[in-house]
Every structure is written in structure tokens, then in C-alpha cells.
């Protein structure tokens, strides 16, 4: 089974965000794989252990994102692709177009990605990629099972409908348990498909020492946008940032003194009289 995992390099969650000269200060910042993408990668590695195949990690970002791809290779991915983001701006439309073009060439059976990236938090790009490639998706997966089809199930769409038609007949079906607002939903969809990972899907492994050594010899391809099949319109950003702001400062309030009864009374009273809540 041929898999592509979309990954993004993000700030470590411990980092404070400091603004300087209208930009986010990156000095001395520790970078990590977006935690949700790490769940997606771990799942791909486990699926490869079960079903065989290849795992390619793909990122779109600045050159420092190569470190993150090396980490992914050390965890066990077979190969990595870094699309240099210069010329793309930081807009979901252009980045999704570039990633979709790169993924299409890899003709995967399964695309995995994180539910959202913890920096921009939009959760838009992976599903834009799915739409561009006309892949069905299952979002917020907590469990993924892949079945090799004995016969083509009646429910499966004809692969000719998808942009990934070069991949063979739907050989695989995914059964995904996904986290929704209304409960745990189990869905079945034919591959090729795109699945996003929710926290709780698995416990990602740490790169092993041999893994780190091996990663040095694995292929990390750098692609520029000129090397991708993109139209001029794909490269036209749809949105732009006007300003970055710090959150409004929040002063510490007061601690309520007294016995537990007095504290509870005081709080209930203040929430009504001062905070005007009840």
C-alpha cells in the first residue's frame, strides 16, 4: 500500500509567541512535527508494518522544515518531499494546490494528515487537497483498519471518478472510527482516500538510534513550485495577512479568602454582582 503523509513543521507547544517588527520571533525557537501530523505518520508506519508498502512524507514550508522531514524519516518513513514555499505565500489555496500536485504524482492509495496544524489552526489544507484530488475523506480518525478487497465492494465508487485514477482498482477499503460532536462514528470508504488523524489514534514512537542513522541515507527531495504541475491561478493567493496581534493582556484577579464555605459564598456572590453572570 502506497501512502503519503502530509506534515507541517510547527513551533513546540511550550513556546511563547513573541511578536517583533510585525512578525513572530523565531530566534531560539524549538520546532516539532505538528503533533496531529505525528499521529498520522505513526499510523502510516503501523499500516505499512501490517500491509506492506511505502510511506512518503510531504511538507510545504521553509527550508528549516527539512529537519522535521529528517525526523519523520528517522521514525521510519521511506522517503520525503519538501516543497519550498517561496512563491506560495502563506495562503491555504496556494499551499493546497502545491501539495495536491505533489501528492498526485505519488499516486498513493492513502493520504494521511493531521486534523489541524497547531499554529494556524485552520484545519483547511488537507481537506482542500482531498477536494482537488477528488478523494473521499474521513476526518478525526481514532482507529483505522484497512481491508484488502476480495472483490470490489458494491459500495465502492469507480476509481475512474478520482484524480488518482492511475492507481489500480480499489484494492483496499478503509474502516475508520472517527470522533464527531455527536459521538463515535464508524465509516467505510474505498481507497484511494484521505484520512485525518485525531489525538488518541495512537502513541507515536520516538526515532531510534538506528532509525536516525538510516534516515541520513534516505531520499529527501526538494521541489520548487516550478517543478510542479500548477496553473498561474493555483499560485494566486486568495487571502493575505494584514497584521499580527498579541492577545489582550489578562491581569490576574483576586484570590478569595476564608473557610471553604466563605470562599464558595463569595464566588457565587461575585459571579452574580460583579461579573453579572447569573
Amino acid at each position: 500500500m502506497n501512502m503519503v503523509v502530509l506534515v507541517k513543521q510547527t513551533f513546540d507547544t511550550e513556546e511563547k509567541i513573541e511578536l517583533a517588527h510585525g512578525a513572530i520571533n523565531e530566534d531560539h525557537v524549538k520546532f516539532i512535527i505538528n503533533p496531529y501530523d505525528e499521529y498520522a505518520l505513526e499510523e502510516a508506519l503501523r499500516l505499512r508494518e501490517k500491509h506492506g508498502g511505502r510511506v512518503t512524507v510531504a511538507a510545504c514550508g521553509p527550508s528549516r522544515a527539512a529537519e522535521t522531514l529528517r525526523t519523520a524519516l528517522a521514525m521510519g518513513a521511506d522517503e520525503a518531499v519538501l516543497i519550498e514555499e517561496s512563491g506560495l505565500g502563506e495562503d491555504g489555496h496556494t499551499i493546497a494546490a502545491a501539495l495536491a500536485a505533489a501528492v498526485k504524482e505519488l499516486a498513493p492509495d492513502l493520504v494521511l494528515a493531521g486534523l489541524f496544524a497547531i499554529d494556524r489552526g485552520a484545519g483547511s489544507i488537507a481537506l482542500q487537497v482531498a477536494e482537488r484530488l477528488r478523494l473521499p475523506h474521513a476526518a478525526a480518525a481514532l482507529k483505522i483498519e484497512i481491508h484488502r478487497n476480495v472483490e470490489t465492494p458494491a459500495a465502492a465508487a469507480s476509481p475512474a471518478d478520482t484524480e488518482l485514477a492511475q492507481s489500480p482498482s480499489p484494492d483496499f477499503t478503509a474502516v475508520v472510527q472517527r470522533d464527531t460532536e455527536w459521538g463515535l462514528e464508524t465509516v467505510q470508504l474505498p481507497l484511494p482516500a484521505l484520512i485525518t488523524a485525531q489525538q488518541g489514534l495512537n502513541e507515536p514512537r520516538y526515532p531510534s538510534l538506528p532509525g536516525i542513522m538510516k534516515a541520513k541515507r534516505k531520499a529527501l527531495h526538494h521541489l520548487t513550485i516550478a517543478e510542479l504541475d500548477l496553473t498561474p491561478d493555483d499560485l494566486n493567493p486568495r487571502t493575505e495577512r494584514l497584521a499580527l496581534l498579541s492577545p489582550p493582556p489578562r491581569a490576574a484577579g483576586r484570590k478569595l479568602a476564608g473557610t471553604p464555605e466563605e470562599q464558595a459564598d463569595a464566588l457565587a456572590g461575585l459571579l452574580r454582582s460583579e461579573a453579572k453572570l447569573f
Binding site: E181, N236, R238
Partner: protein
């Protein structure tokens, strides 16, 4: 884009047959964005009798046309079918902007809709500003609220906007002579490749999404067990709120990851956030620090959560929380001043 050409389409999301509040918040934003001379359409997906109530409410609050799309495939949320239904409304209305709630459903639909129309997507919007000249600027959080950005759309392509629940004002009612019309939109669902095999409904969800809740009572590792959430649940029930949690509590198995609040969980902005036995790690604060009023209950006076709490109680949550429940039961039975 000049004002008069603006046409908005609002995805009027329902839950359990009822219009969600965020749908009316999105409708309010749509009316603000099209300004005078623009048109606002709403699309209701999935029919039945409840839809007619929802449609009437949308029409009464300024949706010029409410398109009702019904098909057996739309009885429950299915991203493929719902995206196709919105696609049908887009084809009929040709909107310059499409608005949805930044809810579980909206987050799945908006990117697909944006890519389908080759539009831009500004997600998780917490504030919308418009000028008389027609400029529109959107504020949204970065790093779950450790920073914010202001963005705008560039000309030439449709806008897709998802609005964070609980942040924008509801659409006002309009005078009876300006109420919208309700019309069925013909639609046949395409063949779907995804089938739903089973749904295990949440027992306690009660239809309220964490992101939409006005009051959240959140527990951390300090609650010590799954049973330790019981007093928090009682307080939440008394206040008409819902439960939330820190990652510490989720990792320890005291509750579901779906309750997790923080940078890698949900970002919430309720009117009242009560943190019980939560230390206040930076990742947790990111997800809740924009709440209007924050209360912290923690036995450690040095816990970082106190640095952002409006009201802090240093004490044992197992003692304080039941007392609060009792106190509020009494207080809520008396009228305020």
C-alpha cells in the same frame, strides 16, 4: 469587489433538527459583510418539519432567500452529501462569499467548498470589521490564542469564511415586510463512496458543543479519577454548562479526549470557565484564556492558572465544588438584582 455585487450564502447548520446558534452568528456576519444592496441567502440541508421552523427563523432574521434542500442522503451529517448539497446551492446562488460555523461539520465542509470554487478560506473567525468603503477584515487566533492575526481576502475569487461559535453577535430580526422567502431547492444526492456503519452516540453531549457552551466546568489531573468528575458534572448541570478537561485528565484516562481544551484540543471562549484541579500549563491556557470570566480552584497557591483567573480559590476541589453547587442551587432559585 464593490458592495452591490456581494451575495452571501450561509450554511445554516442544524443539530438534532434545531438551528444552531452559530448559524445565526454566521448570518449576522453575512449581513454585515454584504452591507446595503447585497443579498443574503441561507441554505438548510436536511428537511423535515424542523427545517420549516429553522427556515422561518432564518427568514425572520434577514436571510432574503432560505433554500431548503432535502434528500434521504442528508438525514444525518455526511460530508460528501452535504458538500454536494452546498455545491447545488452555490450553483443556484453564485455567491461571492460562503459562511459556515467553525464547528465539526463546518470544518469538514468549508475546505472542500473552498477548493471546489477555487476560493480563499479564512477559518475560525472571531471578529469581523467592515468599513463604509466595503473593506472587510477578519480576526482569527493563531497558536490557539497565543497570538491573533487580521486577514483579508484578495480580489477575484469567492470567499469562504468559518466563524468561531460564541464570538459574533446574532443576526437581528428584521421588520415583517422585509422577511425573506423560503424555497425548496431541487437536489439529488450523487452516489456516495462513504457509508456510515455505526454511530455510538455520546450519552452526555446533550447537543451542546464545547466550543458553543456558555459555561464550562473543566477538570484536570486534580480530579484524580473518572468518578472524580461527578461533582464537576453536578456543578455544570446546576449552572447549565458542560464539562471540559485538561490533557492531563485525558491522558490519565479520567475522560474522553473529545473534552480536551488547549493548544492540541479545543479552543473555547465561554462566558464562564471554571478550572478545577488544573495547573495551567501554557498549552492549556492557549485554549481557554479568551474566556470572559475565569475561575480557578486549585490547592496549590502557586499554580500558574491563578495568573489568568479573575477569581481564584486556593483549596481542595472536592470540598469547594460541592459547596459551590449548593450555593448556586440556592442563588439560582432567587432572582438577581
Amino acid at each position: 469587489m464593490s458592495n452591490c455585487s456581494r451575495t452571501a450564502l450561509v450554511f445554516a447548520e442544524c443539530a438534532d433538527g434545531k438551528l444552531r446558534r452559530v448559524a445565526l452568528e454566521a448570518l449576522g456576519a453575512a449581513r454585515q459583510l454584504v452591507q446595503d444592496g447585497g443579498a443574503v441567502h441561507a441554505v438548510l440541508v436536511g428537511g423535515g418539519t424542523a427545517a420549516s421552523e429553522a427556515a422561518a427563523e432564518l427568514a425572520a432574521r434577514g436571510a432574503g432567500v432560505v433554500h431548503v434542500i432535502d434528500d434521504p442522503a442528508l438525514a444525518q451529517f455526511a460530508p460528501e452529501a452535504y458538500a454536494a448539497a452546498i455545491g447545488a446551492a452555490v450553483a443556484a446562488v453564485r455567491p461571492s462569499m460562503i459562511l459556515l460555523g467553525h464547528t465539526a461539520a463546518g470544518r469538514e465542509l468549508a475546505p472542500r467548498v473552498a477548493a471546489a470554487v477555487r476560493g480563499g478560506h479564512i477559518a475560525d473567525v472571531t471578529a469581523v470589521e467592515t468599513t463604509d468603503g466595503g473593506d472587510a477584515v477578519f480576526t482569527r487566533p493563531l497558536y490557539a490564542g497565543k497570538a491573533f492575526e487580521r486577514r483579508r481576502f484578495l480580489p477575484g475569487a469567492p470567499w469562504v469564511i468559518t466563524v468561531r461559535p460564541n464570538n459574533l453577535p446574532l443576526a437581528d430580526g428584521v421588520p415583517p415586510d422585509r422577511q425573506g422567502v423560503i424555497a425548496a431547492l431541487p437536489f439529488t444526492a450523487p452516489p456516495l463512496s462513504t457509508t456510515v456503519l455505526a454511530i455510538a452516540r455520546k450519552a452526555d453531549a446533550g447537543g451542546v458543543d464545547l466550543a458553543e457552551a456558555d459555561i464550562i466546568v473543566a477538570g484536570g489531573r486534580g480530579v484524580r479519577s473518572a468518578a472524580g468528575f461527578a461533582p464537576l458534572q453536578a456543578l455544570a448541570q446546576t449552572l447549565g454548562g458542560v464539562l471540559g478537561a485538561s490533557r492531563g485528565a485525558c491522558d490519565a484516562g479520567y475522560c474522553d479526549y473529545s473534552l480536551q481544551i488547549g493548544q492540541t484540543g479545543k479552543t473555547v471562549t465561554p462566558k464562564l470557565y471554571i478550572a478545577c484541579g488544573i495547573s495551567g500549563a501554557i498549552q492549556h491556557l492557549a485554549g481557554m484564556s479568551q474566556s470572559r470570566v475565569i475561575v480557578a480552584i486549585n490547592k496549590d497557591p502557586e499554580a500558574p492558572i491563578f495568573s489568568i483567573a479573575d477569581y481564584g480559590i486556593v483549596g481542595d476541589l472536592f470540598e469547594i465544588v460541592p459547596l459551590l453547587t449548593k450555593r448556586f442551587q440556592l442563588l439560582l432559585s432567587q432572582p438577581g438584582d
